[in-house]
Symmetry: C2
Subunit: 199 residues, 2 copies
């Protein structure tokens, strides 16, 4: 396909290879450059080379661009928990799920960093992030109970998993490029064992 | 003092015994009766027998009535951590702080229940609650580090403490009248030890 044809199709708004990814990237760039408040949907769409209509086919508003991955993340966590071998201890199951999430973040390191910069600068976005994390804990708790884990072990494991994810993610996103998030997560679950025992 | 004098002083807005407590109680009652959204500051002030001006001397807005205790709670947690005997393990220090918080909640059980009913019915208030809990975790983490605790032990202990508080509080506030929150908190820290070890 020649460039002219691609541009024509783009202008018509019908040819949208990975429109979602382009919108996310454009939005993150603009949020970092101009701030979240100072960016409009029109500007995001323009930078992505797409129409506003296309934007709204993918996202309810400009805030949702930052959280579009959270449904997929929840699915990954719940699936990993459901598929873990029977008789695995709840905290080990949660460790597998959080590590799987860590692998995903590690693969999208640059985007994760940009996103974090934007969220850290805006109180409303931080609230939203906390709500999403609380939902993930609830979903993991439920997934554990569905495989027979009992309370309070299921809640404690799920909440501990989110605590590990928060601490590991913060160290990773603000740390040097060499850091490996899945390894940091594994180490923190080991630390948690010692810490909880008062060592 | 005769009743007439009291009423006169009230009308003048100068005599306000425990105005704070009366406003909190009036607000909680109205939020439960009419919903948080459906209640105005004027109605709260009227039910408390105080003026709107008095309301705004005590609270920035009607949301803050629900969170006015959080500064005192944070102080209690930080003080308990600072005053714990040296060489006490971080998770044990956090256990002491969270249990002290539990004692306070236990003493104000009725108010805690009303407050929880209101917050559970409103997404925005839930976000606010999560932000406050996250701030408490940060404050406890800092208080631990000030007494020499190192990372990641300090963060893990602080986050685990908040996890225990959330789980214990939810069970207590929704459970029977006989439940004792401080005991539930102690038990959960024991459970956490087992859960983290994969037992």
């Amino acid at each position: 396909m020649s460039l002219a044809v691609i541009n024509y199709a783009r202008a018509m708004g019908r040819w949208e290879p990975n429109a979602n990814g382009r919108l996310v990237r454009a939005a993150l760039e603009l949020y970092v450059e101009r701030g979240f408040e100072g960016t409009t949907v029109a500007e995001i769409a323009k930078r992505a080379g797409l129409s506003e209509r296309t934007f709204f086919r993918h996202f309810a508003d400009k805030r949702e661009v930052l959280f579009w991955g959270s449904a997929a993340l929840q699915e990954l966590l719940v699936r990993t928990i459901a598929e873990a071998p029977a008789s695995t201890a709840p905290i080990v199951v949660i460790g597998m799920a959080i590590e799987a999430a860590g692998v995903q973040f590690q693969e999208g390191r640059e985007g994760a960093r940009l996103r974090q910069t934007v969220i850290a600068a805006n109180a409303e976005l931080q609230e939203r992030e906390l709500i999403k994390l609380a939902s993930l804990a609830t979903a993991m708790d439920e997934a554990l109970r569905q495989r027979g884990a009992r309370e309070p072990g299921a809640s404690l494991s799920a909440q501990a998993g989110i605590a590990v994810l928060k601490i590991a993610f913060e160290g990773w996103v603000n740390g040097s490029d060499e850091l490996d998030l899945p390894t940091m997560i594994r180490d923190l679950f080991e630390d948690l064992k010692d810490v909880s025992a008062g060592r």
